[in-house]
Amino acid sequence: MTLNLLVIDTSAGTSIAILRGSDVLGEVNVADTKLHAESIGTAIAQALVLAGLKGSEIQAVVVGRGPAPFTGLRVGIAAGTVFAQAVGARLFGAVSLDALAWAALQDPELAAKVSTRTPLLITSDARRSEVFWALYTGLSSNGVPMRTDLPAVNKPAALDELLIDRNVDAVRLDAHTEVTGPATSQSFEGAAIGTALGRVAQALLVEGELGHDTSALYLRAPDAVLPKPHARYGKAEYSKPVLAGGGSTSNSDGGSTASANEVGGAE
């Protein structure tokens, strides 16, 4: 495959890679997980310089869809979507956890341990003491990580129970250190995954399975609590008056921000 492929993933840090066939033309990784908006432009520009390419020479863009903390994840998806739009490149989405699985399975020793009965469990920090996770049974002949299900989010204890229920004895890898898994876990560097995600995308393309869906894998609904139906201060409840009809003639006020006690943290 000789496409100039730009990969953008902000599921952990900010990771940019430009691949053509088996060559990595440029790769920029910013490990900080709170500087996506700051890093994204410079990282893309630097990767293009390293690759010796102009933006218009990028023919396809792959964005990492997570799952990952939302705020940072969106920065990469927004950047990749608009980059592809600007240069007329084809736009694809891939699951970020698949890149971690792909990278792990490059280790022959580890790959030898992984099977349907002993799948690879990739976890990453989902905050709120939860982890995003997915199970893999190995690589396909084209090198695509074979994921058993869509990624999910759970508390580590609930995940453990779930695996016991499935009678699965997984090889565990954590992408982050914030959530400490069971003692059997090995630590795993998850920030620099752009190139790995690119390899997954190339393999998926060979299989005709690389999708155009670039939507973020949030896996959680936005945290917002519906306001109490009646917010009057008085204790008495009288039937509501029927207001004079007539359509609203003026436009929106722009909307106010729901107050803190009604809206929890986003992630």
Partner: protein
């Protein structure tokens, strides 16, 4: 999901294969005046001519040419000519002529033409008005030019600005619940497309930051697409990118900033990170060509209530005061909810208040007592007012042992609105008088409130203050204001922002550019 404000017409360079479709429109439009197919063919393939077609999407995969326009520009020459422009009759009145003309102007400027000429039938006032609005002036008249009808031709000419003095800037705004993309050329508005997630927030009674950020991510690509289409431009015509990086909701701002930076990197164009609130002031440029300074600016929305002293748009903007609790728009939303009205509260309270007496209840004016005025002369507070309204409703209902009547509801709405509007305008006018500034500029979504505009007009007139209220679509959050401010920075020779700027949810107004 998103509401986009323009129809889906595509614009692309004409190719030889379009000849038959172009001739169909040519005959529909010009009848016995039409060019021959042979002549049109020569026009399409010549090296010094540039033809564009507008296409409508009929159904899956089928497009139809519905308009076209052609430009002639000889290499090395300074003059460019509009060869022809035509819009099929059933597609007129949708801005296609303007889009195609903008397209030709961009093409001519890129090819370093300094003037553009055209001829138009003397009996076509609609076309003449369009050209005049694009900067064309009548310079000559040719008698009986159009035959066999014997109609005169009006010759018009427009000077074309060089690219760097009239930069095309694409601006992105994502600080709250509106995804805005605007395009300007210098001080001229070319496109202003807004996609709002307001309806998704309605059931929560206020903007939910995570919902707003998710909506931005979905809306950005189509909103950029629509803005370019509305302007009749392509990415290649864009000279610079501008983006709001604060103040606002951090997670929402980051979506716009990420996209803007990717655009800058993809197109290798400079990027300008600009202040959202100063953008609300700068938008006046698009209607008056400049922001007359000094001016006092009162910016009132669901997220902000700020009073600014603008001595110079790019170099000297000061915050005189702001709300110390709720924004004014937020107060409208909360009171609307207490009264059982819909979200957003502003238009609802405006509607109910129409038949009410604003003097029926004297609600408190926040931070207007002498002791407050010493410390908070230009600050606002609406939380006490909110409590007072709630308390009043409770006492009234308990006393009469019945729910409010329609008239009572209308009176409370009108009295509440009067309290908000009175304190906003009083403090804004006081700022004008204190600083000896004879101008007041209004901005923000709450400007939609009819009573606020009326009272501002009344008090400004009484005090000899010139009042500026931009068109409503430029008052609410929008990308055009960001583009307009960005274009000012380019035109004043300012350095582009470094690509590694971040977002700042509390960015001070003194930082016009990050």
């Amino acid at each position: 999901m998103s509401d986009l404000f323009v129809g889906e017409f595509g614009l692309r360079p004409a190719v030889e294969a379009d000849l038959a479709a172009i001739m169909t429109v040519e005959h529909e439009c010009f009848g016995n005046d039409a060019w021959s197919e042979a002549n049109m063919h020569l026009e399409l393939v010549a090296h010094h001519t540039f033809y564009w077609v507008a296409t409508a999407q009929l159904d899956e995969g089928t497009e139809r040419v519905v308009a076209y326009a052609g430009l002639s520009k000889l290499p090395g020459g300074e003059q460019s000519d509009v060869q022809t422009i035509a819009v099929a009759p059933e597609f007129r009145g949708r801005g296609l002529g303007r889009r195609l003309m903008n397209r030709l102007i961009a093409e001519a400027r890129r090819r370093e033409a300094t003037d553009m000429f055209l001829e138009v039938r003397a009996d076509n006032p609609v076309a003449q008005a369009l050209y005049a609005s694009l900067g064309f002036e009548t310079i000559d008249r040719r008698r009986a030019y159009y035959q066999p009808d014997g109609v005169d031709a009006i010759v018009m000419r427009a000077p074309l600005e060089p690219i760097n003095s009239q930069p095309v800037v694409l601006g992105i705004e994502s600080s709250c619940d509106e995804t805005g993309v605007g395009i300007v050329r210098g001080t001229t508005l070319l496109a202003n497309v807004i996609s709002s997630s307001m309806e998704e927030h309605a059931r929560y009674g206020g903007v939910v930051p995570e919902i707003a950020a998710r909506a931005h991510l979905e809306a950005l690509q189509p909103t950029i697409h629509s803005a370019l289409a509305e302007a009749g431009l392509t990415f290649a015509d864009v000279d610079a990118i501008a983006v709001a990086n604060g103040p606002g909701l951090a997670g929402a701002l980051m979506v716009g900033v990420g996209a803007a930076k990717a655009l800058a990197a993809a197109l290798d164009k400079p990027i300008y990170a600009v202040n959202h609130l100063v953008g609300h002031v700068g938008v006046d440029i698009l209607e008056r060509g400049e922001v007359k300074s000094p001016t006092i600016a009162l910016l009132v929305s669901g997220g902000h209530t700020s009073l600014l002293l603008v001595n110079d748009l790019l170099d000297d903007v000061q915050l005189l005061g702001e709300t110390i609790d709720d924004a004014a728009g937020e107060a409208f939303d909360k009171i609307a909810r207490i009264m059982g009205l819909k979200y957003p509260g502003g238009p609802e309270i405006d509607r109910v208040a129409a038949s009410g007496d604003p003097k029926a209840v004297r609600f408190p004016r926040g931070l207007t007592l002498p002791k407050d005025m010493a410390k908070h002369r230009y600050d606002f507070s609406f939380s006490g007012l909110k409590t007072a309204v709630a308390r009043h409703i409770e006492v009234t209902e308990n006393t009469q042992q019945a729910a409010l009547s329609d008239q009572q509801t209308a009176d409370i709405a009108a009295s509440f609105r009067e309290a908000v509007v009175d304190v906003l305008i009083s403090k804004a006018v006081a700022a004008c008088l204190d600083h000896n500034v004879p101008r007041l500029l209004l901005g923000g979504g709450v400007i939609a409130n009819a009573r606020l505009r009326a009272l501002a007009a009344e008090r400004c007139a009484a005090n000899g203050i010139e009042l500026r209220v931009p068109a409503f679509k430029l008052c609410t959050d929008n990308g055009a204001m960001i583009a307009a401010l960005g274009a000012q920075l380019v035109m004043h020779g300012r350095q582009a922002s470094d690509l590694d700027f971040g977002v700042d949810s509390t960015l001070p107004v003194t930082t016009v550019q990050s």
